[in-house]
Structures are given as structure tokens and as C-alpha cells.
């Protein structure tokens, strides 16, 4: 995510403008040297992990360890053997079945309450090079589109000032830089913001780095421009992203359609899922072509096995969760009023079926992982809203929700937990939306209905004297 004013930096900037290492320094070891590389510490348990058929993080870290040992010392700002010490400490944890990382701290960059996660070793004498091994979260570009020039420059900075190890990407979506020392944090932040034009992401009790699916950039199912709103809300809520004042974390995730490629429904406190109001567009010719076997179902995604001829009845009509489709051998009919936007029919026959043209998104709230009360999926609260610049309608909802959560939320209470504690009824009152059947999670188990006075015709104000005239003691 480019810093404001630097959105087009990489249209003209090249890797050579900011590179630190020469080609010879980057390609500085042979396959033979790598195969014979011996880590500074004995790591038999970790080396066992390299023997399976899968790619191994141990092999990756060894590769970086060898590479660092062969770089000139004046081109490394933290010790060359950080990767060796890291492997040594992980091996120790495998033996003892205990972590040796101390968690959290006051480290960070000036003025920011997030983006840096403090990590310290509690075995600093054994593994001195990783006495500190802080993580940095870097705000990824929308939909994770990169230029190779940018990635090379990022890797150079990280090899120079950090361990060279990255996690592309963390589950939040950020580019995660794993392991550096405290004194390198400010210089890295300077390099990221000035040379690369990117900012740190969110961590702690902040708005976390918003993330979005590939959206209209490549996907015909996108019902709104996920990248644009992701960028807009990231920039608009910079203060919430960097200066923590929430009860706990808060996540926005933007899915262009109900296929939910960034899994917003399972992970975001506020999930934006693209949808449409009108009918699914049907090309009857193309439907017949699918049935005749002229077009491959699922765009050929399952073509590696012979599943037999395509059976529209069995593979589409009977699987519709709303049972709102009908095929008479010539024509496909959809009762759109009953469609629940499962996307199955559109995914199977993308040439024949397309999303409607009256598009926007549904907003759902409160998904979270299992800490309190178990994991939960988002609650549909706004069935349809327009998603158009400058997104003022959406910002108004965001702020209403934040005001309520900041007022009522307990320390470390996610929005979903607050909704559970205070009730959906209370939450939709805050949003100012009416209750709808889709909000009902399960048949009610509580037999009592508590009416509010304004919901009862005539209210319940009584004149006690009038009452006593009719009902003497």
C-alpha cells in the first residue's frame, strides 16, 4: 500500500535506483555449497523435516544463512549468523517442547503504536545474534500486485538491515519481515517510507491492515472495486491504523463477490461482500453448450480427471441450496427472489451465468477466531449498500460501529463478542437498521419477549388513581 502521494512511485522507479547488492553478491553461492552447508548449531530434529517431499522452512533458512555468510560484513547491519542462531533456538524448542521467545514490548517506530512486534530470545547467551528478533508488518499493495523492481528493493533493504527472512504474506495480508534488532527499526522505517513508498501495517489494538481480493483487476465476478475502497479506507483511517485506542484488534476485509476469496466472512470484524440486487444474467445458448459438452464446466478447473459427461441436473440444479433453479432440457430458469448468492451455478457455468448489473455489497460484522466463546462467522446486518466513491455512506456506518464498540467494549473484547454479550437487537439499533429474517441464527430458545414502550400501541403509562377507581385495594 503506497504512502500518500507516492501511489505511482514504482511506475518510474527502478530497482537499480535503490539497490544495495550487486548481482554477484546476490547469486553468491553454488548448489553444491548449499547441499554441503553445515549450520553453526547441531539441528538433527530440524534436518529431519527436510527429508519429506514438501518444501521445508529449514532448507529456506539454511539457504539464507549460507547467503549471509558469503556477503561482505560491511553490507550487513545485523550479524551474518542470525539464521544459524534462529535454527539453533528452534531446535532447542523442539527438544524442550517450549518456546524461548519473549513476546511483545515497547519497541516500535516513533509515533506508531503498531507495525512492529517485539520479539526477544530468553537464551541470549546461547544465541547472541537473535537476542532481539523483531517482526515488522508492511502494508501490502491492494490485491498484492507487485513489480519485481519493488520486491527486489524490499529484499535488499531487509537483507541489509534484517535477517533476510520474510513471510509472504501473513494471514492479515501484510508483507511480514521476520527478525531484526531494535536499532535497525527506525532506519528500516525510513527506507521503507522514503525509498519504497510503503508504510507499516497494523498490529495491536488498532485497525489492522485492510485487505481485499483481486477484484475488478482480474475477476469478472467483482461486484465493486475492492482495491479502490481498500486503499481509500486505509488512507482515510490512518490514525486508527497507527495509533491504538480500540479495545482490541479490528479488521476490514473486502471480497468482491460471495466466493469470498479473502475469507472476510470468517475473519473480519467488518466484512464487505459484493452482491447484486437484480437477476443473474443468463445466456441460454451457453447453457446448452455446457450441457452438450462444448464448454468445460468450472472453466476446466477439474479437468485433470474424467468425471464423465456434465450433468446439469446433478451438478447444478440439485445442488442449489435455495432450490430455485429449473432445467427443462432447453431453458434454464432461476427464481431470483429465492437466490442466496451461493455462487455455485455461476462458478460451474461462468460463460452462461453472470452476476447481475445492479451491484454493491453486503456488510457483515463480528467474525473472529476462537479465543472467547469459540470462532464465529460474521453476522449479516446490512444486506445491500452502494459502494461508490467517496464511500461516505460506508464511513458513516464504520464510525457508528466504532463509537459503540469503544464506548461499550471491554478490554480485549472483539466486536463479535460485544454483539454476543449485548445482543443483536442492541447492535442493529446502533446501526439504525430493521431486523430481518436473515439475522436469525437459530430458532429462539428464550420464551420471553420484552417489548419496549414505544413498540406497544398506546404505551404503558398508567394513571394509578384511575386504576384504583376501577380496582380498589
Amino acid at each position: 500500500m503506497a504512502a500518500e502521494g507516492q501511489e505511482k512511485l514504482w511506475e518510474t522507479k527502478k530497482y537499480d535506483d535503490v539497490r544495495i547488492y550487486s548481482d554477484e553478491e546476490i547469486w553468491n553461492y553454488t548448489d553444491e555449497e548449499l547441499a554441503n552447508y553445515k549450520c553453526k548449531h547441531d539441528i538433527p530434529l530440524l534436518e529431519e523435516l527436510e527429508e519429506g517431499p514438501w518444501p521445508s522452512f529449514v532448507s529456506d533458512i539454511k539457504q539464507e544463512a549460507l547467503h549471509r555468510h558469503k556477503l561482505p560484513p560491511d553490507k550487513l547491519m545485523i550479524p551474518a549468523d542470525v539464521c544459524d542462531d534462529l535454527l539453533g533456538q528452534v531446535e532447542l524448542s523442539y527438544v524442550e517442547k517450549e518456546t524461548h521467545w519473549k513476546h511483545g514490548g515497547i519497541v516500535g517506530v516513533f509515533g506508531y503504536g503498531g507495525g512492529v512486534i517485539g520479539r526477544y530470545s530468553d537464551q541470549q547467551e546461547k544465541f547472541p545474534s537473535i537476542w532481539a528478533f523483531h517482526t515488522l508488518r508492511v502494508n501490502q499493495p491492494a490485491s498484492k500486485f507487485y513489480k519485481t523492481d519493488y520486491l527486489r528493493a524490499l529484499c535488499d533493504i531487509w537483507e541489509y538491515r534484517g535477517s533476510g527472512l520474510t513471510n509472504m504474506h501473513g494471514s492479515t495480508g501484510d508483507t511480514v519481515l521476520l527478525g531484526t534488532h531494535t536499532e535497525q527499526l527506525e532506519p528500516i522505517f525510513f527506507d521503507l517510507t522514503h525509498d519504497l513508498g510503503v508504510d507499516l501495517g497494523g498490529s495491536g489494538s488498532n485497525l489492522r491492515t485492510p485487505s481485499c481480493c483481486v477484484g475488478k483487476a482480474r475477476c469478472e465476478f467483482a461486484c465493486y472495486d475492492t482495491q479502490d475502497i481498500c486503499y481509500e479506507l486505509t488512507m482515510y483511517y490512518q490514525d486508527e491504523l497507527h495509533r491504538p485506542a480500540f479495545p482490541y484488534k479490528f479488521k476490514f476485509k473486502f471480497d468482491g463477490c460471495p466466493n469470498c476469496c479473502v475469507a472476510s466472512i470468517a475473519r473480519a470484524d467488518m466484512s464487505y461482500i459484493g452482491t447484486w440486487k437484480d437477476d443473474i444474467r443468463i445466456d441460454q445458448e451457453a447453457v446448452r453448450a455446457y450441457v452438450a459438452g462444448e464448454l468445460k464446466p468450472n472453466a476446466g478447473a477439474f479437468g485433470d480427471r474424467d468425471w464423465g459427461p456434465f450433468d446439469i441436473q446433478k451438478e447444478v440444479i440439485d445442488l442449489c441450496p435455495a432450490q430455485c433453479m429449473e432445467w427443462d432440457g432447453k431453458e434454464l430458469k432461476i427464481n431470483n427472489k429465492e437466490c442466496v448468492r451461493c455462487m455455485h451455478c455461476i462458478n460451474v457455468m461462468p460463460r452462461a451465468l453472470r452476476i447481475g448489473t445492479d451491484t454493491g455489497c453486503s456488510i457483515l460484522f463480528g467474525a473472529k477466531a476462537p479465543i472467547l466463546e469459540g470462532a464465529q462467522m460474521s453476522l449479516l446486518a446490512i444486506p445491500f449498500i452502494r459502494v461508490e466513491k467517496p464511500y461516505d455512506n460506508i464511513k458513516a456506518i464504520v464510525e457508528r460501529v466504532w463509537d459503540w464498540w469503544m464506548e461499550e467494549g471491554k478490554n480485549r473484547e472483539r466486536l463479535g463478542e460485544l454483539i454476543q454479550r449485548k445482543s443483536i437487537q442492541e447492535f442493529i439499533k446502533v446501526l439504525g437498521v430493521p431486523a430481518i429474517p436473515q439475522m436469525v441464527k437459530e430458532p429462539r430458545s428464550n420464551p420471553y419477549i420484552f417489548w419496549k414502550e414505544d413498540e406497544v400501541p398506546g404505551g404503558w403509562e398508567r394513571d394509578i388513581k384511575e386504576f384504583r377507581k376501577r380496582h380498589p385495594r
Partner: protein, 86 residues
């Protein structure tokens, strides 16, 4: 409406005198609203941010949640890095 300086003063008093050396934003908010009932969360956040920028308060982050503390009280960068406070 309270000025930012008044809110900052209440925050510093709270950070100095509270038993805990690290506290959540919510705890600080409650302490401010006890003295200045009409102080809004956003004003308190602005005051706390100003105190962080001045170097009076520090953030303490576990990675998942964030707390505030008075600089020099309780854990410091030095004790954190050497592990001597443990």
C-alpha cells in the same frame, strides 16, 4: 469542553499514580472521564497521542493488543532487552 492540556494532565496523573505500570486505553479513558465527565474518547486519544509524541507516554504492544505506560515507570527498553526486569 475540556482542553487537551487538561486531559493530558489527568492522563499523566493517572499514569503516575495507578498501581499498574501498563494500562489499556479504556482504563485511561475511565480515569479521565472520572475527572472530566464530558471528555470524549477521541479527545482522550488525541491527548494520549500527543503525550506519546512528546515522549511522556510509551506504547506497549504484545502484537495482538496495545497498552500505554509512563516512560521510565516499570518496564523500559533497557530492562526489556537485557531481560534484567524478569
Amino acid at each position: 469542553m475540556a482542553s487537551i492540556d487538561e486531559i493530558k494532565k489527568v492522563i499523566v496523573d493517572f499514569a503516575t499514580n495507578t498501581k499498574k505500570t501498563k494500562f489499556y486505553f479504556k482504563d485511561m479513558e475511565k480515569a479521565v472521564q472520572k475527572v472530566i465527565p464530558d471528555a470524549k474518547p477521541r479527545e482522550i486519544k488525541k491527548a494520549a497521542t500527543a503525550l506519546v509524541n512528546e515522549g511522556t507516554l510509551v506504547y506497549f504492544s504484545t502484537g495482538s493488543s496495545t497498552m500505554y505506560g509512563l516512560k521510565g515507570r516499570g518496564i523500559s527498553l533497557e530492562t526489556e532487552e537485557t531481560g534484567k526486569a524478569d
